[in-house]
């Protein structure tokens, strides 16, 4: 870890910057900082939002002024040691990979000059780290993908991406927890619920977790409660395409 910086970003918020680039190797430090900051702020913490390289600390100004908040951050970071590996949970996510629910399976296979099966095998071949949650409740940014699978976002985002859609953008992968707009390449669908108000902790994935995808058949997907309705066409209209 380089020297962390503490940056003012608003009346009641600080950014704690630990790194400058995205790397799985950073996760144990990020997790340790998350725990230490929660502990140091205690009741004075309103929200703590970790991202790839930073943590946003939103503190209670009725309890702390800026100097006191900075002091709490320094206190938390002093003597920080990386969290031991294996602290995050491991998840295996069954996915039905098919062009009907994952149209870009075709785009990626074509670009690489390989079969759909090859693309699927590569997506399933490694554990991905959860770097950050954001965009929507329970939406986890995971990586890093096999270099060759890296695919730019769609030029025109879809207005509707089905819940459970498994997606790829650049060297990251993710699963859409709920129906939402989205510009990532969709390659399949899972029946696993990612976010629920009745779930302990609400979100299945947490930063630092490891996720592996596993290909299953259409039958197995439906048996698990999956909805096989084909993905709606992209929301691009001739007007939008012109602009």
């Amino acid at each position: 870890m380089s020297d962390p910086s503490i940056e003012t970003v608003g009346m009641d918020s600080l950014i704690v910057r630990l790194f400058d680039s995205i790397d799985e190797e950073h996760m144990p430090w990020m997790l340790a900082a998350d725990h230490a900051l929660r502990e140091a702020f205690g009741e004075a913490l309103i929200d703590l939002v970790p991202s790839y390289t930073t943590l946003l600390v939103h503190y209670d100004i009725q309890r702390l002024d800026l100097q006191a908040a900075r002091a709490r951050v320094s206190e938390a970071l002093a003597g920080l040691t990386p969290a031991t590996s294996g602290e995050g949970q491991r998840h295996v996510i069954p996915v039905w990979y098919d062009v009907s629910v994952g149209p870009e399976l075709e785009r990626i296979a074509e670009r690489l000059g390989v079969s759909h099966e090859d693309v699927i095998a590569r997506h399933c071949a490694r554990d991905y780290s959860v770097f950050a949650l954001g965009f929507a409740p329970g939406y986890a940014f995971m990586g890093r993908l096999d270099d060759e699978l890296a695919t730019p976002r769609l030029k025109t985002p879809r207005q509707k991406v089905a819940a459970g859609s498994v997606a790829i953008a650049e060297r990251q992968t993710a699963v859409y927890p709920t129906l939402s707009p989205g510009g990532w390449n969709i390659v399949g669908r899972t029946a696993v619920a990612l976010f629920g108000r009745d779930r302990e902790g609400y979100s299945l994935f947490r930063p630092g977790d490891k996720v592996r995808f596993e290909a299953i058949s259409r039958e197995a997907f439906i048996e698990q409660g999956g909805d096989p309705t084909p993905l709606a066409e992209r929301g691009d209209t001739p007007t939008e395409a012109q602009t």
Binding site: E7, T8, V9, G10, M11, D12, S13, I15, D20, S21, I22, I46, D47, L48, V49, P50, S51, Y52, T53, T54, L55, L56, H58, I61, Q62, D65, L66, A132, L133, G134, F135, A136, P137, G138, Y139, F141, T178, S180, F195, R197, G201, Y202, S203, P207
Partner: protein, 307 residues
């Protein structure tokens, strides 16, 4: 249970409280009343906690029918409210009698009116708040985040406190403001903008654009130039002033995404966000730098008004 029945819902009528906290690390947005100061005063008029659940009425179009009599409070924008056709000015505590109708037409000043109920509106908190976030399907009357709809029934469980009148000049929109000044705590990537851009940010007028909602408000004016490198997404505070590649800033409000990767000048104070949330498209606004400590003092003074 008897209450107020929604006869006409309007385009965007939402149940809001102070917001949803402690879950932003899961990607859940903050939510809450966009003009939290007006909601606070409406609640104060009834003796409620400042963040008690109320109704945020955006641009009007709402009609409520009273099945039962009640003491309510109205603050914020002037949306041409009437009580059985008699004009009802914002900034008042009033009684609605069973059989009467409370209606909101269209904005005369401001955008969002707030209606408070004795003890706060009844709704079950979801993830700690009743704030309605349509995009996330969280909060509101049904817990699924939807906007108020025809036939919905608004109920409350408390009783109104002792009669109160608002101090002069609060709870309504300032009508005679020469300039709308929005206080900004500078920080984040401000050092990576060109010197000219930083000067122009604080010394040229900005227009509130049509593209404005609870997620963010776009401002148009001078083109701001960011000279830094591409950013990795990071957490975004309320009021963050982000500048995408076109150089036109967007002020991120209550329903913003939790993380993002555009460079920022800093963030408007929560008081300035409340003011901006009442600015109609076309309004001229000015950004003015404020130290974090000074902003904190102003904020604490506002909270002290409600003790």
């Amino acid at each position: 249970m008897k209450g107020l029945i929604v006869e006409r819902a309007g385009p965007l009528t939402l149940i809001q409280d102070g917001g949803r906290f402690g879950v932003r690390h899961l990607g859940v947005t903050q939510g809450g009343a966009a003009d939290w100061v007006s909601l606070g005063w409406a609640n104060w008029l009834l003796g409620n906690a400042p963040q008690a659940p109320g109704v945020e009425i955006t641009v009007g179009g709402l009609t409520l029918y009273a099945e039962t009599s009640a003491t309510l409070a109205l603050t914020g924008a002037d949306l041409g409210a009437t009580l059985d056709d008699a004009p009802l000015a914002p900034g008042t505590r009033f009684t609605i009698t069973a059989g009467q109708r409370l209606a909101f037409e269209s904005p005369r000043a401001g955008l969002r009116a707030y209606l408070a109920f004795p003890g706060g509106l009844d709704a079950t908190p979801v993830l700690g708040s009743v704030s309605s976030t349509v995009r996330e399907s969280l909060g509101g009357l049904d817990g699924q985040g939807r906007v108020l709809d025809e036939g919905d029934c608004l109920t409350w469980a408390g009783t109104a406190g002792a009669e109160r009148t608002l101090p002069l000049g609060v709870g309504t929109l300032p009508g005679d403001e020469e300039r709308v000044m929005l206080a900004l705590v500078s920080g984040a990537q401000i050092a990576d903008f060109s010197g000219t851009s930083v000067f122009e940010a604080f010394n040229t007028p900005w227009q509130v654009d049509q593209r404005a909602d609870r997620m963010g408000v776009r401002l148009t004016g001078s083109e701001l130039r960011y000279l830094g490198e591409g950013m990795v997404s990071e957490g975004i505070p309320l009021g963050a002033v982000q500048v995408p590649a076109d150089g036109q800033p967007i002020v991120l409000l209550n329903d913003r995404q939790t993380i993002g990767g555009y460079p920022r000048l800093g963030a408007l104070t929560p008081l300035a966000c409340a003011r901006l949330a009442q600015c109609q498209p076309g309004t001229e606004v000015w950004l003015t730098p404020v130290a974090a400590g000074q902003a904190r003092n102003a904020h604490l003074r506002q909270l002290a008004c409600w003790r």
